[in-house]
Structure formats: C-alpha cells, structure tokens
Symmetry: C2
Subunit: 198 residues, 2 copies
C-alpha cells in the first residue's frame, strides 16, 4: 500500500538541489516540483541534498512509497542526516514531493486513542517532543484526523524513529489505521509529533 | 573537555528506569537522580530505558562526557531510539542526569553569528526545525547565551545529527565556542534547535 495517490496541486514556491554522492558531490539536479522516480533523471540514488525553499517529503522508493523523510530548509550531507534513527538502514531515497503546510499557528489535528476515530480524543495545535509528558496515556495513537496543515509523527520521543507524514490535503486528512500512515508503518506506536513548517 | 562540572542542584521530580538489554529486558535499575557511572551499579551499558518523569541528559561516557542525548518521557527500546542519526555509531550510554528546564513558554536564548558573542544576534523563544527557514543566514551558530530554560541544538534540520544540550544553570548559560558545547562537538554547524520540556 502506498500513500502516493495524487501530486499536490497547491502552488508552492519550493526549490531543492539533489546530488548522487555524499557531501554535495557528483551529479547535481535542481527541482521546483515533485520527482516520482529519480532514476528517470539518470541518477541511481540521492546521497545528499540542499533544500533551498519549502518543505518536502522524501521517500525510500519511487512513486512516493516506503519510508518517509521530512526535509526542511537546510543542508543534508548524507542519509543519516535526514533519516529517523532506525535500525532499518536502507539508505535509499528515490522520490520526493513538496509538502503543502498551513500557517504554522493554524495547524490543527485530532488524536484518537483507538482506530477508526474511536476512544479518547485530544486536539493538538503545537509541537510535542513527548506526548506522554503532555498527558497522553500510552505510547500509541489509534487514528488521526488532520484538520489544518501538515504534521509529522515519530515512533519515539524527541522526534526519533520512523516518520509518518500526515496532511490535511491527502486522504481528506483522515488516517484511520496505521496501515494508512505509509507502507513502512508496522504498529500504532507514536511518541512525539510536530507541525511541518514551510 | 567535559561539560560535567557539577550535579544539578535544582530539586526535580524525576524518575527513569534503565535496562542492560534491548527492549526492556535484562537487569533493571530505577533512578530518581543523576548516575555518574552506570558500571558502578553493576551494569556494563544501558541498552533500553523508560523515562517515567522529567527530562534527562544521557552521555556516551561516564562523568557526563562524550555524545549527548536528550531523553524525555516515553519508551526507548534501543540505542537507535534516542541517538541523533549519526554516522558515528558507538552505541554506549554510561551516565545520565536530570535536566532543569524552565517553564516552556519562558525559555529564552540568544544566538550569535560569531564566537564570543560577536556578530549578528537573534533572540529565540520557540522551537525551530529549520533555522534557515526562519531567516538565519547559514548553517552555523558561533555562540549562544541561554537566558532561561534548557535547549537542545542539532547539526541538521528536523532535529537530526549530534545533539548539544544548552542550559541556563550551567556555564552561567554561556557557550562562547563549539568547544564548550560538549566533547563531541567538532564544528559550529547547527541547523535546528528546540526547548526541552519537563
């Protein structure tokens, strides 16, 4: 299962430069919109990149599938600099696309204890490096409804582990079960989350 | 050089449980204050942990030296779940201590373009997953002055890479050069930073 579906239609001022070697070396390509398969551009893998403008989602596989990586403005010299500290080190990024996020102050999401929007619920509009520290009862979230903006959820506290990108303008903002969080999601475990900024 | 110096004197309600095997297995020990050398407790390394209360700083070596890791409330089943996505995988945590942070809304720090509090400056009181996206000119910070609370700075955007813990009640809150950020700091590179919450 992929979270691919459609390319975002919101018009964004975005710009990123990718390199096929670490430390901004080797073949270099510039992008101002999504790339569904980097191999079609004559590059076998992305090994470093600079985000000049906007927020992007990077993916392990082509067509926006597999492990997800949030990419915000700045310099990423190697795979370790954008990955989420996982035991699962595949070191591949084959596709990427801009993320359409809301005004930072207006981002809003509802968390549900159980899948299918059941159980205890909690509306969030801020960044949470530890959900448990802020009162959430356990280390799992059953389902999520994004009402505004784009968010990234993480397996572990302090924004570590697998990343799950949740957007208002995808799936109608509805993520009923971890199977809808991305093809790499294997459990309901989420211990930190934050808003994505442009 | 160590950032050790003294054990924090602020009285905190803190609690953490460490295990000498991954996934909360093996020998188990509970702590409500700092531990300067886990080997003195009969454990050769910390391989998983649960923070039940408070925020903590974990260290690669004994006596609060080496690579730093912020630990907030939640469950950490293996080294990868608290490390900062570094190429440098030593997989050791030998000491830890509570962090005394301010009321989250009152945290304040001044960033300086150059070392010794020189050059352009910028007062921050929020979390910044990308400093460049918020207007900071490059991928480095020359020096920092913590006026309130505790902060964590990261090499790469999105809270990745080496972690540097900066505290109001250590060094008088003054970090004049990267050599004062911790024994593992090798450059001025900082691309994201955030407040530490209890």
């Amino acid at each position: 299962m992929c979270i691919c579906a459609h390319i975002s239609v919101c018009v964004l001022h975005v710009h990123t430069t990718i390199y096929d070697q670490e430390n901004f070396q080797g073949k270099r390509l510039e992008f101002t919109s999504a790339c569904q398969n980097i191999m079609e551009c004559g590059v076998d893998n992305i090994r470093s990149l600079k985000v000049e403008c906007g927020a992007w989602a990077g993916y392990e596989h082509s067509s926006f599938c597999g492990q997800q990586f949030v990419l915000e403005r700045g310099e990423y010299p190697h795979w370790e600099s954008w990955s989420g500290s996982n035991a699962y080190h595949i070191e591949r990024m084959m596709s990427f696309r801009p993320i359409c996020s809301a005004n930072h102050k207006e981002s809003k999401m509802v968390l549900f204890e159980k899948e299918n929007f059941m159980g205890r619920q909690w509306e969030v509009n801020d960044d949470y490096p530890s959900l448990q520290a802020m009162g959430w009862g356990n280390n799992e979230i059953g389902s999520m409804q994004v009402q505004s903006g784009a968010w990234v959820c993480y397996q572990f506290p302090g924004y570590r582990g697998y990343q799950y990108i949740m957007e208002c303008d995808r799936h109608g903002g509805e993520y009923k079960h971890y199977r809808e969080w991305g093809s790499h999601a294997q459990s309901f475990q989420v211990q930190s989350l934050r808003r994505i900024q442009q």
